[in-house]
Symmetry: C2
Subunit: 764 residues, 2 copies
Amino acid sequence: MVLFPDRRSSDEENLGVDWVIRYRFDGADTTSAIEEFRTLIRDLDEAGLRTQVRHGNGSSLLVFVNAPRERLGHEIFKSRVKDWLDGVSDIRPVGDSQTVIDGDTEAEELRSVHHLVTGRKDDGGAEVTANRGKWKNITACFPLHSPNANRGLFRRWSRIRILEAEDLDGLRALFGEKVALYFAFGQCYGFFLAGAAVFATLSWMYYGPYSIGLSVISSLWCIVFVEYWKVQQTDLAIRWGSRGAREAKVNRLHNVWDKGSEGHETTLKTKEIYQAEKQLLRQLPQFVFALAASLIIGSLVLVAFTVELLLSEVYRGPFKAFLDFLPTISLALSLPTINSVLNKAAARLTDYENYPTEAQYEVALTQKTFVSRFITYFLPLLLTAFIYVPFGDRIGPSLDAAHLTWLSTRIPRHIDSRRLQQQVISFVLMTVMLQFRERNFLPRGAQISFMKYLHYLPDRPADILHPYRRSNSSSLLLIDHPEESGFLSRVRDETEASVRDVQDNLLEICVQFGYLALFGAAWPLVPLVFLFLHWTGFRSELFKTIMERQRPAPLRTDTIGPCLRILEFVAWMGCLSTAAIVHLYRRDVRRVELWSLLLTIFVAEQFYYVARYFIRSVLQKIGSETIHREEARRDAVQRRYMETFSEEAAELCRVYKPRVRFNEIMDVMIETNRRDSTAASSECTHPSKDETEDGNESQIPQKISRRTNTDLLRDAEKSTRFWSWYQTPQETIEAGIKLIEAISVASRLGRSSGSGQVTPKKAD
Amino acid sequence: MVLFPDRRSSDEENLGVDWVIRYRFDGADTTSAIEEFRTLIRDLDEAGLRTQVRHGNGSSLLVFVNAPRERLGHEIFKSRVKDWLDGVSDIRPVGDSQTVIDGDTEAEELRSVHHLVTGRKDDGGAEVTANRGKWKNITACFPLHSPNANRGLFRRWSRIRILEAEDLDGLRALFGEKVALYFAFGQCYGFFLAGAAVFATLSWMYYGPYSIGLSVISSLWCIVFVEYWKVQQTDLAIRWGSRGAREAKVNRLHNVWDKGSEGHETTLKTKEIYQAEKQLLRQLPQFVFALAASLIIGSLVLVAFTVELLLSEVYRGPFKAFLDFLPTISLALSLPTINSVLNKAAARLTDYENYPTEAQYEVALTQKTFVSRFITYFLPLLLTAFIYVPFGDRIGPSLDAAHLTWLSTRIPRHIDSRRLQQQVISFVLMTVMLQFRERNFLPRGAQISFMKYLHYLPDRPADILHPYRRSNSSSLLLIDHPEESGFLSRVRDETEASVRDVQDNLLEICVQFGYLALFGAAWPLVPLVFLFLHWTGFRSELFKTIMERQRPAPLRTDTIGPCLRILEFVAWMGCLSTAAIVHLYRRDVRRVELWSLLLTIFVAEQFYYVARYFIRSVLQKIGSETIHREEARRDAVQRRYMETFSEEAAELCRVYKPRVRFNEIMDVMIETNRRDSTAASSECTHPSKDETEDGNESQIPQKISRRTNTDLLRDAEKSTRFWSWYQTPQETIEAGIKLIEAISVASRLGRSSGSGQVTPKKAD
């Protein structure tokens, strides 16, 4: 079940490695690869980072990056200053250009390393980003997992069912606010689903589909969910001191497209206005894109629909039961492909639109991706519900008019109104299968077999095991040092691990929420199905984050941002759609009058706005505990400051950072994972909940110190040895060049001798 | 034309008087009046304020308040600290409990005096507010106008037609952000009206009423106005450094109802939550109120409508032309009365709802007031447009059913669809007349005649002139000192002057905007009529602020707040209403199908949301000059700080206060009106535009110093004499008691001798 920690290497530390870059080169063009590698190491060196090089899987090198204590400490200080300047934090960090401080959490330190590696050169970074522009040969650029912290999390999560505030704090300390916020949101969504499933299923058992009562309740429930999450999100942002982090232009650093319009960040007002107008113009093509996509999907649905009608009525041959559903099934199966094409187009369009900050880029991309999903998954259902079934009677006459009398006599005069329900069921189940497969089987299955393939003889000695063993000339270079081999093979596994942005998961939830809000009335079991999917998927997502995925760069945010607007839009659309579906399908579709339908929709829309206004007012007035505590605390401290005007009171005054209570395990985990000045001593303890539960509280520090005495020294020595292989950037470059040449030779040899396993990927 | 400055006294200064309180007592109950007066002076003394007492008009005393230099300077410092704590300003003022600073503008200093006089005792204030709770006998509590600054403004405004940024800065420096923001908004609205008037009139000339093109354009124009104003408002808030001032709980100080729930501002969270829930419950009655009001007005309109129908068709006697319109006219004339009743109910309800901050209170009150205006002025028109005219055909049959066959045969079978237009015209003209009268004639006319009455013999010597001249026993006390008499009679005039909150003017604009957005399609001349009203009213409003009104307490805000939401609501409603009216009345009302009407409204609503989204995105992206400049400045300063980490850079970093350019006249005005340590030397110059225009620029400082040499000394002496009459609070109290007794005697004598002029008001 677990991919990384069960390996032999898992007991080892990260040897002071902050960041790993995987440089992949095509064996054929050795010269340009050497040149590129040289630039890479120099760029990293110029940013003040230490580097080591080892060989990776296939034709690739692993560059290990370590940010020296002074460099990192100052970068953290600078990011705190930037927070203060941007209004994220209200406390001004005291210091100058020499100040060095520790980060509060591992995530904060890694975020600073992230800035150093990927930040713009103007800001002191190295401008190294994966798969983008000039560095398209860098296929991975990520921080390493903390095996010990992950093991602690794993033990805890195996016992609990519900993430508590402390668990979210732990996630934030290790993976940053963005990931932690996603899990908080996922859990909130789970509760919402549970509630919806309970009353939808009950209502379905007693009243069947198209129940008016259920529609009203579930529309209200959707609004409550969205508004409740807004309060929760503020609560967490206050708790983590990340309020306003999204708006702060922190991520402006590594946008590639900035190079086209160098200097637009100058203080020239006119230039900025020009940029804004130009950018507005550049946003126009997206409407053409959305229209075209809608037309294509719409006509696809029309074709599938007509074929299905014909088949069901005209065809009388064998496999009829199967063939009847063939068009809908093939439509459903072709949708993911269409969606991925649309997604690519959306990404292209967003690149073209040239946003100055990463946050704006993300908003635009997420919106476009959602529009493409909306068109793919919801448009067919909307067309069925509001066009084909109600107006299906007119298909016959129109075929007559088109001189297709043979057809028109054969298709039915009235479309069965159960079609909508059938289609909703098939679409929902298809989505469930897709998301389930994607989350649970495909990547893990693919990965495990791939890993097995790479390490098919795990118990033999290292020199025999190595895939390059056949190449004699380069064997000395390509064999791992025994002391490092476990660590290196863990790193190699992590480079191959899948990368998944939480934004994708958020969008999946948005799509689920869309089915539920828009078509829940037609098939009230929708929330139950999604509840099943969510609770299985959500837990496995949690475990996969620490076990099967590359560790994400710990980004910071205070909101789920664009997805929140999508949820609001879906709740609004759901209110209208539910009202219309219930009105249309509750009785005979043909006897519904147009004016009464329109009146229903109009009333539903006003109902939505009024309900949202009241729910929002009430929830925001009641607020959350953290928000109230924060307000009360601020009031108290402010009063104190007004009385004393003292420096200490001033320090306390404007910090949006209440003291967060960690339970012991989390405290230990986060404390011990905090990197100290010799970068090697990080992750030096084994904090396990089982142990701390057995012993009393005073034992915990003893345990830490015991480990410090016995193992820390060994770890530090090992780490020192690791970083002493190549002392200067020049040595690293030379070592890298030798490795590139050796691997090229080995790869050519391997190819000529027919052994495909040397370069598992890209081996041409 | 000018009420205050043309008087003999206008050349004098305010003699160091910061605030004036008028205490009115009923001549009958002298003992309790004395006790109350004693409490007043003690409260003011406890707040650290100096006081003097003189007699006012009728049975009233004038209490003059001066905030000593140290007290005021520290209060200004504390308010700056509070700004920093609340995040309004980003710079932390350095100082302790002894720090004394100058305000940037006269308005800032007066705001601090305002806090001292009206603030809660916990916060060091005196809790003295006019017409509220324990101080219901205090009928006025206000700062004095600056005659010289006002004269400068008057000269400038006589020459210009459009307020420029500098004029707004000047208004802000004298009257505070709230007033200045109102004038900025009023001007913005004027431009909007001008645009609307131009194309509406053109469209009316070519296409008549109910034009589709005009409806679309004017709906869009309304949205553009609202969104454009939002950008402008942010621009001004940045310019004046008041961003976030509305949300800061500055005004929480003097809410009277806090006393009922003393201590809810403690840090206890549970109590706050309880408060929130209790308050939510208390907000429920307003819906009953709104419903009842709607029903009453609705039935009134129904009655008027039926009577009018009957009269027009049945009555054949004399004065028919007049009697036909009698019901509508009486309805229109009764509406202001109904509205004022509703307003009072709204104020009661808002008091009952018990808001913790003044800003929330204002929002709730404004919303309720608008709802009552909406019901009064718009509901009749909406009923006519969408119920009576379209469904008028059914009145006959329903009368039949009610066995009123005699009536049913006599009223017409079809209602003339021009009725709507007629009613819109009469309502708009009524509103124009009402607002015009209110703004231009009534208060000024009433005031002037009242003032004339009080000073009907302006040229005789002071001892003969005085209204109390017949009372020999108290004549010495009640006769003004010749040196002060001019100043005192100016102050007495100001106490009688009208008080008008800009919130009322904002609501008037909202009502105008409502007519225009909702019914502009029926009579496209609406914007032209309002344009006429606005440009006359707006200028006179400007002049009245400095000449006929009490100077308002200089409150601070960064938005027009609740009115903005009202404008958004009206724009939304206007979009729907315009679409429906055009659809219904464009051709024959009877031939309109319900479904097509509903479809039109539905499409119009979606059109509104989409258009608003795009207009908002575009306008916010383009932004305003100040916003861009501010962003660029921040970027530059931040970069500098990141490079140097110096204190100076830190000071500059987070201030939202760009250097505001005043033109010379404003600079002189504001500089010279800035109070200095000897409170008397304020307003010591005569900065007149005419002079500065003639002379060259270098002369201005000379003029100031010339005046300083000649007149400043005299002014300071005069001021010292004024404040030395009563040295201690005890002396003030004794003087006040003597005055109360003397006035009571005089009042009794006056009554017995039948002279009504002694106590012009409340003299029973």
